[in-house]
Structures are given as C-alpha cells and as structure tokens.
Amino acid sequence: MSFQYTILILLIPLACFLINGLVGMKFKPLLSGILGTAGLGIIWLLSLFTAYTYFFQVGQVNGEFQKIVVINAEWLRFTDKLHIDMGILLDPISVMMLVVITTVSFMVHLYSIGYMHGERGFQRFYAFLALFTFSMLGLVVATNIFQMYVFWELVGVSSFLLIGFYYDRPSAVAASKKAFIVTRFADLGFLIGILVLSYFTGTFDFIALTGSDQSIFASGAAASFMGLSALTWAALLIFMGGAGKSAMFPLHIWLPDAMEGPTPVSALIHAATMVVAGVFLVARMFPVFFFQAPAALELVAYVGGFTSLFAAIIACTQFDIKRVLAFSTLSQIGYMMLALGVSGYGGHEGLGYMAALFHLFTHAMFKALLFLGAGSVIHAVHSNVMQEMGGLRKYLPVTHLTFLIACLTIAGVPFLSGFFSKDEILVAAWQSNKFLFAVEFLVAGITAFYMFRLYFNIFWGKEKTYAHPPHESPLTMTIPLVLLALGSIFAGYLPFSELISSDYKPFETTLHLSVAIPSVLIGLAGIGLAMLFYRRESTLPDRIAASLGSFYKVVLNKFYIDELYLFVTRKIIFNYISRPIAWFDRHIVDGTMNGIGWVTETSSQKIKGLQSGRISQYGFVFAIAAVGLALVFIYFIN
C-alpha cells in the first residue's frame, strides 16, 4: 500500500504553526492550545498507523526492510547531479523516530495546556511547538542530507525561539543565544562536511550514500588531506554537527542553560527529540562511517563514552533539578553515541547500532516522563532548586509514582525498558572495547546514584514548609505522565532487533546475564548509596563533598568549561579580533581615503604662492615657462 498520506504528518503541524502564528493572537488562548493538541493527536495516530503498516505489513520484503521514498520533489537545483530535494523517506529508523517524536510532542502539547495555563503568549508557545514538531519530523524523514540540513537549521531556530520564550528574562535570552550560536557553530562543521562529501560523491541522496554501491566514494577515499582521507574529514565534520545538536563534549555547554525554557519544552526538545538528532544523523550515515571512515566512528565512540562519564559526574553535584536531568540527558546520549561508535555492520555485529536506537526510543519515554514530572513538581512548588523541596510524596501522589518509575527505569532496574536497552549497549561495548565497557559500567552506577539523589531530595528528605501547600497538577498534566510511565515500563518489550538493524535485516538478540547481572547490581548499589545519603536529612553528603574539596568545587562548576568558552568568545573574538578590525577599518582603510583628501587640500594650500598677484612674477613665470619648454623640446624632440 502507498504511504502518500504521510505527507499530512508534515503538513498538519505546519498548518498549526501558520494558523497560530499569523492569526493566533485573535484566538482565545485555550482554543489555539486545543487546536495544536488536536493536530498533534491526529498525526500521532497517523504515525502509529504508519509504523504498524510499515513494520508489520509492507515494510519487510524477503527478510529485509525497504527504504520507501514516498515523495521526492526537486526544491533547488545546483548542478545536474547536485540538487536539494524535499521528500519523505520511510525506513525503520525514520518510522521509529516518527513514533517517538509524535508521541512525546503530543504528550507535551497536552501537558502544556495545563502547565502553560495563563501564561502570556500562550498562542505563540503553541505556534513554536508546532513549528518545532514540523521541523523535527522533516528532519527525520529527509531523503537527502541537504534536506536534513535544512530542517536541522529550522530545528535549531525553533529551539532558539522556545528557549527564549520568556524573552523578557535576560537569562532566558542569553541561554537561547548561546544555544543557537553553539549549535550554529557545530552546523558550520556539518555544512562543510556536506560540501566535502558532495564534492567527492556528487550526490546528497541518502539512498545513494548508504546504498551498497561504494564506487561513488572512490575519489573521496583516494584524496587525502593532512593525513586523513577526505571522507574521514567529511565524516568528522558531519559528526561535529551531530555533536553540536546532541550536546556532546565539548559542545555540550548550551544544553544546561537551555533549561531556561519552559519545562515542557525541555521535555520535548532537550530530552526526547532534538538532542538525539545527532544520534539519528550518525545512524543515518552509519554505512558511510563504518565503511569509509572507521577512524571517525571510533572518535564517536570515545566522545560518547567520555561525555557520558563527564556528565554523570557533574549531575551528582547539581541542585537545580532540571539541570540534573539535563546532565543525565547528556550522559544517556553519550551512551547512544558510544553504542553507535562500537557497533559493527550487519547481523549481530550491528548490535550496537540497534542498541543505540533502542536506547534512544526508551530514553525518549522515560526522560520525557522525568522532565514532565519535574515540571509538575516545579508547577507545584514554584521553584526548581532541590533544597527548597522535600517530602512532596504525599502532596503529589501521581507525580511521585510516575517519577519513581522513571527513575527506576533509567537506573536500569530489571524488567523496565531502560534495563533492556542499556543491557544491549553494555553488551555491544563489551564485545568490541573493554575499556569503554568499564566506563559505561561505572556510569550505570553513577546514573542510578544521582537519579535517586534527585528522587529522594524531592519526594523524601526533610519536610519543608511551603508558602501555599503544593497540590497535584490538573488532569491534562497527569494523563501524559501516566501514559509515558506506561511507555517507559513496556517499551522494553518491543522486539527491537526484529525491526531495526544496521543492515535492515532482522536478527535475534538474547539477554546476556553475564553482563546484565553486574550492571543491575551496580545500579542497585547506586540506589542504595543515594538512599543512605538522602533518604532522610543527613550531613553525610556535605562531609563527603568537603572531603573531596577542590575537586568537588570544580565539578560543581561543571569543570569551568563555560568560563573557558566565555574567555574565548568575549576576550579573543570580541577584543582581539573584532575590535581591532573595527579600528583598522575606521583608521587605516578609511584614514587612507581621508588622507588622500587631506593631501590634496594641503597641496592646494602650499602652492597658492604661485598666484602672488605681482605682475613681475607673472611675467617671470611666463618667460621662464616659454623658454624652458622651448629648450626642453628642442633638446629632446630633435
């Protein structure tokens, strides 16, 4: 059957955006909210339907999932070979992403009706949400890398708009600016990567790039620049773009600040969808990485591993609950990148590939849940700093329960979805690279620890006295929580390896107890430690922090990375490049122009003595000139 209707999945959010954006101000707030949510509901169902038909009916032809190009219209022609097309490509990962995005986005739309109730610019909020959803969907169904880049930029800008939603808060403005510029910088790498890739392969098309025919890469593999093959450079630069969006170290600095945005936005963009775009990009280009640029792939693995550890450590020290979640997001995405990095190609070799996307799927569920739960908490206590919370479990029962589920999931407690996906990743790591496995193993423990630190600090710990007693959130907010909770419990039971694999051929996976049991144990250990520290008020954590001393301080300040960046931008770019250039332009370049004028003026002043007004002098000049000319010409011409 044909998938023509999938075009609606793109068009409906676009329509919502245009309606809410152009005439939304005329509406009642609630109306536009309902409009947006309804639109999202429709496309959610559509994409679930698409997924069902694709995976279980028509997608698989003689044991291999097909890449179905639903439509592909030329948008801009550069040369006969190079042209940007706009189209829809359905294959396992894009369909999977459709489901993830629409699900989370729908939940967030629903949730926001309650959460954003009474905010200024409610309609604007929904317009931006719709814009984001549209761009994100366009990104995942892209048929060619340039279409992906187009929507990549759009995603960036809608994230900019949403982070800066409270545009009269300087901090929010700063954060949005930071996010945009950092990702923009990364995107520059992406763009150059595309340039290089297209120069050598002469195509943007994913089908061609990821197809079995490797001949197009010949010239690129041959050409080498600074010791690496051109394709490796291309892959690295493209990964740079991915790292920017997915906030991999060292381009991660924008993500924690991005928490300035409304919490639902954080849930949608900075937990579930946009930040995994990098993972999706690498997965999309996986054959290129694997066959043409193994070095780049290895880098991906190490960057992922490092980020996951690095972020996990920082997460243990943060007090702003959203920031804790942000860092945990970083570390989880690190997992996925690592999995991709260590993955092989085809069959069981490609376990990491499958694991990464599996984890992406489950992570979307439980991280969205965590954020929305956090949002509900913040909604209740009007603060997002841990110290001002505690013992909320009896005020917010639903939130408490769902939040707990989420924490257990992320901690990898058995039989919850997180357990399965994380297990696959660890196995993949174990198979290829013991060192990275060790790192991840450690991170699993730390994750459990900081998640439960969070959990206990919010819901247990010492009773706080609240200005006005917190109360459970309205239904529009709790329903999504419950749904997502169900998602994060059962998502793990999907036969993922049946559906998604590096070579589009289903394969079998089994639970590897040899890896699973230790990881569960370390997870439980982390939980226990957290319980010990934070179950009820105790001074233990502070003492430990004190004993760690300066290290603790460094970690608390996120290893001073932001300060470093600030130094580079403020000092270097502004003071040592831009300012001198401005000066140079005003004084040297412009000065020369004025100098010419000045010279003319002064020379005209200097020679005015020639016109002395004295007849004798006139006669003198006349005679001298006549005689002089005569002599000169007689002498030279003859």
């Binding site: 005015k608 016109q611 002395s612 007004g613 004295r614 007849i615 004798s616 006669g619 003198f620 005679a623």
Partner: protein, 105 residues
C-alpha cells in the same frame, strides 16, 4: 649700407634686445618702464622680421609689412596701456607695479 654685416650678428642683437625686454619687464617696478621694455621686445621682433626678409627672402616684402603692422599695433597697445596706467595712478597715486597686488592667491 648694411652690406658686410652677417645676418647672425643682427639676430644676436635682436635676441639680446628680446631678453633685455623680458628682463626689464620682470625687474622694473615702474609701469612706464615695463611698457618700454615691452616695446623693446616688439622691436626685437621687428628686427628679426626685417632681417629675415632682407637676407633670406628679398623678393617678397611680407616681413616688412608685418613689421609695419606690429609697430602700429604696438602704438595702440601703448596708448591703452598708458590710459590704464593713468587710471591706476588716480586710484593709488602711484604707478609702482608692486602696489597693484590687491588680488592674489
């Protein structure tokens, strides 16, 4: 009666007169004198014309006629000049050329 005087001598005389006139024009301060030095120049010209005519092209009289016209016009010029000098004298009570420098630069 000028047989035996080679042409060059006469030319040298006229050349000398010419430069004398030019120098006079430049050095002299009294306008009348300046006018006289202009006359010197014109006479140098006349000598030239006549000499060339007499020595080189004796069959035609173009040089002579030219000289005659030059004299006449010189007279006219002198007349107007003197009138103007008188005018200056009325204005400045002086005919020193150094003093008519109101307009300069």
């Amino acid at each position: 009666m000028i047989e035996g005087i080679p042409m060059q001598h006469l030319l040298i005389v006229s050349l000398f007169m010419f430069f004398a006139g030019v120098c006079g024009f430049i050095i002299r301060k009294n306008m009348i004198t300046i006018l006289m030095s202009v006359e010197l120049i014109l006479n140098a010209v006349n000598i030239n014309l006549l000499v060339f005519n007499k020595y080189l092209f004796p069959e035609q009289l173009q040089g002579h006629f030219f000289a005659l016209f030059v004299m006449g016009i010189a007279a006219a010029e002198a007349a107007v000049a003197i009138a103007l000098i008188i005018n200056i004298y009325r204005r400045l009570n002086s005919i020193n050329v150094e003093e008519v420098t109101e307009m300069k630069y």
